[in-house]
Symmetry: C2
Subunit: 251 residues, 2 copies
């Protein structure tokens, strides 16, 4: 099932009333600090599927936190080759890579109807000097982004197609669970093509690998809907014996 549609009333919820605040920037903030953060956050109308949040080269002025829905980000080089660098779910923050250049090095597109909290970066920086716990959390989130990119590097540099797909599914499963959804049955908002690009594989390989994982009884894919049949074995295949270890997780 897709994440439940969010009523417009809840779209404007303040951070301290937002059920995501344990997954998001406010993590670790006192209540009154959270109110300060809340004051600078802008909540606009939802983006439709396929709509750009920002594009490569756009001036950077704010971070984007997913409130509901999902987003893909991709960078492209001068040849036009595109690489999806991340899928972002509720509570996750985009735009951290833009701080350095002052402009966005990648583009972000909504994968479904998606609502967003925009956090003006200059205000956030100012506030961070006054709230050490906010500065700390901001640094932690950037650090996590690095860790996740590096986990993806291992995947692309060292792993077979099957290992990559298994790791991807395990990662999505863990992230679904963190958001209160079933870890064993969920919908992927991204296409096979997107998954393939993200994992450095072609759409055909993704499709074949899904089929094979189904044949050996690990998953049961029905188009976008994924049922994980044998979570233990899937994790073993992914090379992640225990719980999540890298890629985009949360907290």
């Amino acid at each position: 099932m897709t994440p439940p549609t969010v009523k417009l009333s809840t779209l404007k919820t303040a951070c301290k009333n937002c059920k995501l605040h344990q997954l998001c920037l406010p993590l670790g903030l006192e209540n009154n600090d959270m109110e300060e953060l809340d004051k600078i956050i802008k909540r606009a109308k939802p983006y439709q599927k396929g709509e750009y949040l920002f594009q490569h080269g756009d001036n950077f002025d704010a971070l984007y936190a997913v409130r509901s829905g999902s987003v893909k980000t991709y960078s492209q080089d001068d040849n036009g080759d595109e690489q999806i660098t991340g899928f972002y779910l509720a509570g996750e923050i985009m735009g951290l890579d833009a701080v350095h250049q002052g402009s966005h090095p990648c583009s972000a597109i909504a994968l479904e109807t998606t609502s967003i909290c925009k956090i003006p970066f200059d205000h956030l920086e100012n506030l961070s000097t006054q709230l050490p716990s906010l500065q700390h959390q901001l640094l932690r989130i950037m650090s996590k982004e690095i860790t996740e990119d590096q986990a993806l590097l291992i995947l692309l540099g060292q792993k077979s197609a099957e290992e990559r797909v298994a790791a991807y599914l395990v990662n999505m499963s863990d992230r679904m669970e963190k958001r209160g959804f079933s870890p064993l049955e969920f919908n992927l908002s991204m296409s096979r093509k997107d998954i393939g690009n993200y994992l450095g594989l072609t759409i055909e390989t993704i499709s074949r690998t899904f089929s094979h994982l189904q044949q050996i009884g690990l998953i049961n894919p029905q188009r976008k809907h994924i049922e994980i049949v044998d979570s233990v074995e899937l994790r073993r295949l992914a090379g992640l014996p225990k719980i999540a270890c890298g890629m985009r997780s949360t907290a």
Copy 2:
């Protein structure tokens, strides 16, 4: 030529007298702010080739800035697969990925005799709340790390062996130039094996690609010593028409 050996006297140079400060953390700091930063930095004796700066799982308490020499960092997963995530030259900063977990997710090994500035992270965080320009620079450096990892993702996800190697050489060339060395003639401190691992290729493929690039008159590799014969064409092959664009650069 390897970067010139640094006399011990210069090892203890304060930030404001360090010729690297335009490439390093102090970038953008006023002179007296730089002195504040300087007070918290620790400069230990050089690491020998092959020596660990820190290892996967070590408690995180400081960032590591390269003063001279070079370092490789690599992460490993539960299967023991290793992926080199970066090569760090003078002025570049390691350990940013450890902020999130509070322990190092990767290991760092000196590729040659290397001197380091250790920056205790709790002190740095405290100082950052007092010096907005330091906080800003810290965020910029973390952001740059993300951008560079994402450039490597494009390389691993989308590019052929030849394109990867060409991009790697162009990147090294640009970084050498930023440090005042010749961009057309320099020494690689890392082995072919390390380059291969970094680029998601085998040592044999690296060797063959070097040979081929030599045959078509783009480079002239003599073991560790690389001469770039046709920089323009090499950049074109790398898909980087103009100047540097991604991977680890500096500033």
